[in-house]
């Protein structure tokens, strides 16, 4: 199979993260997590979540006794560039797995590439349904949650907080992830009684959203849903707050803003504007502290990461770290680097102790199922990392869907056969 490390004493992992472009800081955090994971796998440091991981296959002696080495590449958050770096890792550096990334477009593109090339792809940040929906691939895996799950987790909380009689106005980033997120939030909130008065698509390259915000003022909507991420989210949220939306009363209700997908870095970029705004996350560094040992692993990870780097890890760092351990563990359990063996070991794998509570890697679509964290921007942060407060952790069964759900490509979506390459 491709890049079989059998006759070498080391094994090379490929970390493909954005190092330039708008997500460079996220990529940097992902890379920190990867480096930490490599350390732990090789038996250095305190072992982090390896101590709490329910599977005990990992020994701290590398993977199957081979020392773990890694190569890095810059995806630039462009699929062409990401595929180029992934290819160079596979063709030149002999990587057996590619992992990382911080957008669904890149994830889908690199996942397809890994399928072709016969290596495993462990997705980093990707939230669109398609990654494990209509574009799912046998060689690709996603630990991160997705748009549908965000909707399913958020809607009950929103209706509880804001009531069932609400009129929502959506601003949606005009690309695939935006579409799936809008769809997910709409469907789940409408099911609970909300009305969607309007949904407007905004260009990805937009920087000033005033022209999209002012019509919201004119409508009779009382909730604004920002299906935005990255700079789009920072700017649209900042603009919305500038236009006084948060101080407005409509239909005798206080106007509210919702950001379905939160990220610590973006919250930091938006500054005070995030205060009181609801959103969802895959994970948060305060989970174990606040919600107890169901989320065991969290503290261990925060400790090793915090001690090494001086600040708490982001959810991007977390998911990347976890993916690395999961891969290494699967290899150990399969007893082989062969991608098909790894796929078999990961499919249907149930585990715990990696910070999200009990988790399942579902066989049908290679999506992880676990609790989703609903958060709200904190009113009085205690320090610069304390930006959100956890509202609840939506239990996993509330966010589970059928593998052939229509939002996920329906019956047409197929993993295909795993490819072990040459």
């Amino acid at each position: 199979f491709t890049n079989d490390p059998a006759d070498q004493s080391t094994v090379t992992l490929g970390f493909n993260v954005p190092q330039s472009g708008p997500y460079a800081d996220e990529g940097a955090d992902e890379l920190r997590a990867y480096e930490l994971a490599v350390e732990h796998l090789n038996g250095e440091g305190d072992g982090g979540m390896m101590q709490t991981f329910s599977s005990k296959a990992l020994q701290g002696n590398g993977i199957m006794g081979k020392k773990v080495e890694y190569v890095t590449g810059d995806t630039q958050t462009k699929s062409d560039a990401a595929r180029a770096t992934a290819k160079s890792m596979i063709e030149k550096d002999g990587a057996v797995i590619i992992t990382g990334g911080s957008s669904s477009g890149v994830a889908v593109a690199v996942q397809a590439l890994c399928q072709e090339a016969g290596v495993i792809f462990m997705a980093g940040l990707t939230h669109a349904n398609d990654t494990t929906g209509k574009d799912r691939k046998a060689n690709g895996f996603r630990h991160f949650f997705n748009s549908w799950m965000s909707g399913a987790a958020l809607a009950p909380v929103l209706t509880k907080e804001y009531g069932t009689d609400r009129k929502a106005y959506h601003l949606t980033a005009d690309y695939n992830w935006g579409y799936t997120t809008e769809e997910a939030i709409r469907n789940s909130t409408e099911a609970l009684g909300w009305e969607t008065v309007n949904a407007v698509k905004t260009p990805l390259t937009q920087t000033d959203f005033s022209a999209y915000i002012t019509p919201v003022l004119q409508s009779d909507a009382d909730v604004l849903v920002l299906n935005h991420y990255g700079n789009n989210m920072v700017n649209s949220l900042t603009n919305a707050v500038q236009f006084g939306l948060r101080d407005k009363m409509v239909n005798d209700k206080k106007f509210e803003i919702v950001v379905p997908l939160y990220s610590e870095l973006m919250a930091r970029g938006a500054g005070a504007a995030v205060k009181g705004i609801f959103g969802s996350q895959n994970w948060d560094w305060k989970l174990q502290k606040q919600l107890g040992d169901r989320y065991i692993g969290t503290d261990a990870f925060v400790k090793s990461f915090g001690e090494k780097y001086g600040f708490p890890p982001s959810q991007a760092a977390h998911t990347c770290y976890v993916q690395t351990l999961l891969y290494a563990d699967a290899v150990e359990r399969a007893g082989s680097f062969n991608p098909c063996a790894v796929v078999e070991a990961l499919e249907g794998f149930e585990f715990d102790g990696l910070g999200n509570g009990p988790t399942l890697y579902r066989a049908e679509d290679h999506q992880c199922f676990k609790d989703v964290v609903v958060v709200r921007g904190k009113e009085n942060p205690e320090n610069e990392f304390d930006l959100v407060e956890i509202v609840e952790a939506t239990p996993v069964d509330q966010v589970t869907y059928a593998p052939d759900a229509p939002e996920f490509g329906g019956a047409d979506a197929k993993l295909g056969e795993c490819n072990a390459g040459a």
């Binding site: 005033s210 022209a211 002012t214 900042t238 973006m266 970029g269 938006a270 304390d386």
Partner: protein, 343 residues
């Protein structure tokens, strides 16, 4: 009706941003004939002047507060800005609050210095070189400047709020007697609008009512001959560059409360500001400003849901579409001069 007024207001505001950014560009590009791909970077550096000033003002020493703990459970470290010790707590807080306006004072000399250094050290060797070479060198410079900022400030946007006095919104509706809360608009955006008008007016006046403008125009058209008339055109060009850099930088400073600055914000604006300048017509300041307002207003209207329902995706392309139509119907943009950058 309210919606229309609001969208026009929006368009004017957005247009003033375009116009202000394009103004600096057209001084260098339309007047000195240098295709300056580093203009966006100057705008970005202006914005980071504001970030820097607010960082300097909040420069702090740490004291340990034993009663609280940080995320790892260690005793919490509390930051106390030096400025509190310097000018006292309330004056210090006021200055921190007013960091953005204060940074104007800081940005003007810094940007002029950057502009002058850039012109003396680099651009002056490129006046006679082909535009393609100018693109390559200024693009290279833009990348370098961006990377330096990224190195020190990271890639994530950095929130830089307006003074709290300007954070609310102005109720135009009540003001115009159209009913309270029907048309409200954030104060800072109004400040930005007014600021743009002042700067634009100032630059116009300077170029119009001093012979400086004529000399620079002449020097641009024919350096040699202007030299023959005893005029040291190099110096004028340097001054011009400094002014343009300052205009770009001020546009950046004032923009920070509207959108949190990040290291590539310059590149995001670059293409648009080129389009604005060219649609306005090469060599025409009035044209650039007009085009800025025109495109701003059109973009605002194209963003309305009603428009998008009939023409999906029009918001994505409206600026380019209008640019094409204008350039095809008016050979030199709105008010371009003949022979400027037509080869």
């Amino acid at each position: 009706m309210d919606a229309i007024i609001l969208q026009i207001l929006n368009g004017l505001d957005k247009g003033s941003a375009y116009a202000l950014i394009a103004l600096g560009l057209t001084l260098i590009f339309g007047t000195l004939g240098v295709v300056n791909f580093a203009h966006g970077a100057l705008f970005m550096i202006g914005a980071f002047c504001a970030v820097t000033v607010s960082r300097i003002l909040t420069l702090s020493y740490t004291t340990v507060d034993e009663t609280r703990t940080d995320f790892l459970g260690n005793p919490m470290e509390i930051e106390v800005p030096y400025i509190h010790n310097l000018v006292g707590q309330s004056a210090g807080d006021f200055m921190i609050d007013w960091a953005v306006p204060i940074s104007i004072l800081f940005a003007i000399p810094v940007m002029i210095a950057i502009g002058v250094i850039m012109e003396r050290g680099l651009i002056k060797h490129f006046y006679k070189r082909p535009h393609a070479d100018q693109i390559l060198v200024t693009f290279g410079l833009a990348i370098v400047l961006q990377e330096i900022i990224k190195f020190y400030y990271g890639a994530n946007p950095i929130p830089t709020p307006a003074p709290s006095a300007f954070r609310g919104s102005f109720d135009f509706g009540a003001f115009l007697g159209l009913g309270a809360n029907s048309i409200i608009y954030p104060y800072w955006r109004l400040v930005y609008f007014a600021f743009s008008l002042v700067i634009i007016g100032g630059v116009f006046a300077f170029l119009r009512y001093t012979t400086f403008g004529m000399v620079v125009r002449a020097g641009m058209a024919d350096r040699e001959t202007v030299g023959l008339l005893g005029i040291n055109i190099d110096r004028k060009f340097t001054i011009m560059f400094g002014i343009a850099a300052a205009v770009a930088g001020l546009a950046g400073v004032m923009y920070t409360p509207i959108n949190s600055p990040n290291y590539h914000m310059g590149m995001d604006f670059l293409v648009l500001s080129f389009v604005v300048v060219v649609v306005g017509g090469m060599g025409s300041l009035v044209g650039a400003v007009l085009a800025g307002f025109l495109l701003g207003i059109l973009e605002s209207f194209a963003s309305m849901a009603a428009v998008l329902e009939t023409l999906p995706g029009i918001n994505q392309i409206v600026i380019y579409l209008v640019a094409i139509i204008i350039l095809l119907t008016r050979p030199r943009g709105l008010m371009g001069r003949k022979g400027v950058m037509e080869e």
